[in-house]
């Protein structure tokens, strides 16, 4: 695989939009990680990661399997809390608030940081219930009419409304894989988060479904801070404005996607994107 297969035109297309946004606002980082270490029991899975993730836009984490990119992603909404042997040190802030602070309610955090998983995992309930579940547990709507609105707008944002509007009461598991993944995105959007984490959202999908999800991500980036873990460098190039390369538990390099793919500073990044390993 030559590096020419990486779609640089896409990068250039989106880069203009990104830089415009950066120069206009120059806002502080949405997510800030300082010296983050993660241990699974004795295993040191993530070593001293420092990164700044800007608001609005798509940040891609790339790297070979087991490099710690998913681990880092799961630190941002504290999903690692559910793993008993997992220990996190360092500091991660979202909007200058330490998310590992004792006073912080993890449920509130996860309402602000939505997550989409590798394998589409809709609840085995109706499409409507799938989307309505988050708003319901967080008490975001006052009545049925409001809930209907939330469900509809979420499904519209996830570009799924037209496909499912006539069968909202059908089971979410009866949809196709791509539709299921977009349902999961709608479900995450429904609680109106600031950040959406996506852990290889297209790895279980066929190319057409992948294209739809990528288009969707591109549409969502104007409203959300999206962090996506992907194995596919083409995908990272297509959808992201900034890319971070992880290797063996360390964050090797983080820069604009264009720079990473065209002019990486680190030899390891160069080797990875040119297919020398991984």
């Amino acid at each position: 695989m030559e590096n020419s297969t990486v779609d640089l035109s896409a990068i250039e297309r989106v880069e203009a939009a990104r830089t415009a946004h950066l120069t206009a606002g120059a806002k502080p980082a949405k997510v800030l990680a300082r010296d983050v270490n993660v241990y699974y029991g004795d295993k040191h899975a993530l070593k001293a990661v420092n990164v700044e993730i800007p608001d609005r836009g798509v940040m891609a984490f790339i790297g070979p399997s087991g490099c710690g990119k998913s681990t880092f992603l799961r630190c941002i909404n504290r999903m690692n809390d559910t793993i008993a042997s997992c220990r996190v040190t360092g500091k991660i802030t979202i909007d200058d608030q330490d998310i590992y602070d004792r006073s912080l309610d993890v449920v509130q955090l996860r309402a602000r940081v939505g997550m989409v998983f590798q394998k589409p995992n809709p609840f085995p309930k109706s499409i409507y219930e799938n989307v309505a579940y988050g708003p319901r547990i967080h008490g975001l709507t006052a009545n049925k009419a409001e809930m209907d609105d939330v469900v509809q707008s979420s499904l519209e944002k996830a570009a799924l409304w037209n496909e499912v509007k006539d069968r909202l009461q059908d089971s979410g598991t009866g949809l196709s894989g791509g539709q299921q993944q977009r349902l999961c995105i709608a479900r995450a959007i429904a609680v109106n988060p600031d950040i959406i984490l996506m852990d290889e959202p297209c790895s279980a999908l066929d190319p057409i479904a992948t294209a739809k999800v990528e288009t969707l991500i591109d549409e969502l980036r104007s409203n959300f801070c999206i962090i996506i873990v992907t194995h596919s460098m083409q995908q990272a190039a297509r959808v992201s404005q900034r890319t971070a390369f992880f290797h063996l538990g360390t964050l090797v390099e983080e820069d604009s996607t264009k720079t990473i793919f065209s002019n990486p500073k680190d030899q390891r990044t160069q080797d990875y994107i040119t297919g020398r390993f991984g």
């Binding site: 999903m79 559910t82 008993a84 997550m115 998983f117 609840f123 579940y133 479900r187 995450a188």
Partner: protein, 543 residues
């Protein structure tokens, strides 16, 4: 990855060191096929053997139980005598209840076969009816006092021995038509039947073959209860043969004759009942009475509803499984409401919330161990703790349910944990990722998905409890209890214990009822397991 592939080794793997000759290879293949065939044959054999035993067992039980599901009744006209039932005419419930209904049923059956004299004969006749016949009549009268003073036609239950005689082959007989003119000496009492000389030579020869030789003192062959009984039916009556000579037969009249006029050749017969009287529970006298009632068309056979509507009894024909069924239902109810919530909550805690440390490990190991503890141990525990320490009522479904709950709890916890574990973690992650708390994730998503599995495990556990006997023996549920229990602290018994109790009784009718109760128990077990399978198939999800 062009660079990477170029560095791949280009050498082929080394050639196989030793070539296998074709004949050896062929032999190997043959051996492999042969061993596969052997294994398949063994498997089929094992299955066939199991199936054979199962079919034999079921057939034997079902065949044995069938007679218990029907009963014989005498349809008779009963005069509900106001003087007996309600002497003061006030229709007082207590008076009605305590009246002597047995005298009415006795009177009714003596009208079917009139003219029976002698205390033992009358007793044999009235003894054909079950003591339950009077109770049935009482129930009829109390339900509808307007029948007092009238004659009603109602079926009356026969005793178990009569019932068995009518169902079975104890009454197997052969009949030989009379070969000469026969003259009875009287119509009742002990009489002599006289015929031409050598008329009974064939009978005498038969008796000789059966080991009866001429008794010098009596001057005749004397028949006793150890050989097949002979009864002569003549002039509308019956005479039992006790002494036989070549031309006379002597014996008591079992059924009065209509006259002493000589009976013509062929108008009378000599009936031989193959089973000797001493080897059956019913006498010649009773057989003659039953046959007479039968020939009058007054016997009906019907479904034995009483088996399902009455409690236990010392009289097999009155014994039913209602008490045991209600007792079982109450016991299982107590078991279910205890072990379903406790078991499911314990499983949820252990699976979803408990920290993984040495304490939870010990608890987990011990739950698995408890599932293997012999059930009688739980019975002893129940006896020591629930009865002796807490002084809970003996023989009560409450205690039975407690003990069975202890027995079933490990099964339910284990199956519930398996069901919870089978829910894919992605569902849990999805809920937690949306901001659901651990508890919300479990109760909103994991538990509903695990429920079919939990229900299946619970039903199987309940089926296990349903068939359990040993622990209940220890807490006194083995008592003879006639009353149908109405609440969980009444003395009660359960179906398997009822089976155990009946199987110990000598009456043949109880043996049939044992089999019938087993059939009912198996029916419940099949139904419960069927429900479990149905639930599993209906709610099974593929991920």
């Amino acid at each position: 990855m062009t660079d990477a592939t170029s560095t791949l080794p280009t050498q082929l793997p080394p050639a196989r060191r030793r070539a296998i000759p074709p004949d050896v290879a062929a032999a190997r293949v043959r051996r492999r096929y042969a061993s596969e065939r052997t294994f398949k044959a063994l498997g089929i054999g094992a299955l066939a053997l199991t199936a054979l035993f199962l079919v034999m067992l079921l057939t034997s039980i079902i065949v044995k139980s069938l007679p218990a599901f029907s009963e014989h009744r005498a349809v008779m006209s009963v005069l509900v005598d106001a003087a007996v039932v309600d002497p003061d005419g006030k229709r007082n419930a207590d008076t009605l209840r305590s009246a002597d209904y047995a005298s009415l049923t006795r009177a009714a059956i003596t009208t079917v076969i009139p003219g029976i004299e002698g205390r033992s004969a009358r007793k044999a006749l009235t003894g054909l009816l079950s003591s339950g016949a009077a109770d049935d009549l009482r129930a009829l009268v109390i339900a509808d006092p307007s029948i007092i003073g009238t004659t009603i036609k109602t079926p009356m239950l026969f005793s178990d021995d009569v019932d068995l005689y009518l169902k079975g082959d104890t009454g197997r007989y052969t009949t030989a038509a009379g070969v000469a003119e026969l003259t009875p000496s009287d119509v009742k009492g002990d009489i002599t039947l006289t015929a031409a000389d050598q008329s009974f030579a064939a009978l005498i020869a038969e008796l000789e073959r059966e080991g009866i030789s001429a008794d010098a003192e009596a001057g005749a062959h004397v028949l006793d209860g150890r050989i097949p009984s002979r009864v002569v039916y003549v002039n509308g009556g019956a005479v039992k043969v006790v002494k036989a000579t070549a031309n006379t037969l002597t014996g008591p009249v079992l059924l009065p004759l209509s006259s002493v006029s000589p009976a013509k050749t062929g108008s009378w017969n000599l009936t031989t009942y193959a089973q000797p009287e001493s080897r059956r529970r019913i006498s010649d006298q009773e057989i003659v009475f039953i046959d007479k009632i039968k020939s009058a068309g007054a016997i009906e056979r019907g479904f034995n509803w009483r088996f399902f509507t009455s409690g236990d009894s010392r009289e097999p024909e009155l014994a039913g499984i209602r008490g045991a069924l209600i007792g079982t239902a109450l016991t299982l109810f107590v078991t279910l409401i205890l072990c379903l919530p406790i078991g499911v909550l314990a499983a949820i805690y252990l699976e979803e919330f408990a920290p993984k440390n040495w304490l939870t490990d010990i608890i987990e190991v011990n739950i698995n161990n408890l599932a293997a503890v012999p059930s009688i141990v739980f019975g002893l525990l129940g006896l020591a703790v629930f009865l002796n320490y807490f002084n809970l009522p003996r023989s009560a479904p409450l205690v039975g349910g407690l003990v069975l709950a202890l027995l079933v709890l490990p099964t339910i916890i284990i199956s519930a944990r398996a069901a919870i574990k089978a829910v894919p973690p992605s569902i849990r992650e999805a809920a937690i990722g949306l901001g659901a708390s651990q508890q919300q994730a479990v109760f909103h998503h994991v538990l509903p998905l695990a429920m079919p599995g939990i229900m299946t495990g619970t039903i199987i556990g309940m089926a296990h409890a349903l068939g359990e006997t040993a622990p209940l023996l220890m807490i006194g549920m083995v008592a003879f209890i006639v009353d149908v229990p109405t609440n969980i602290s009444d003395a009660a018994t359960v179906l398997p214990v009822q089976i155990y109790l009946w199987s110990d009784l000598p009456e043949a009718a109880f043996q049939q009822r044992t089999a019938a109760a087993i059939v009912v128990l198996l029916g419940f077990l099949f139904a419960m397991n069927g429900a479990a399978i149905w639930l599993r198939n209906k709610f099974e999800r593929r991920w």
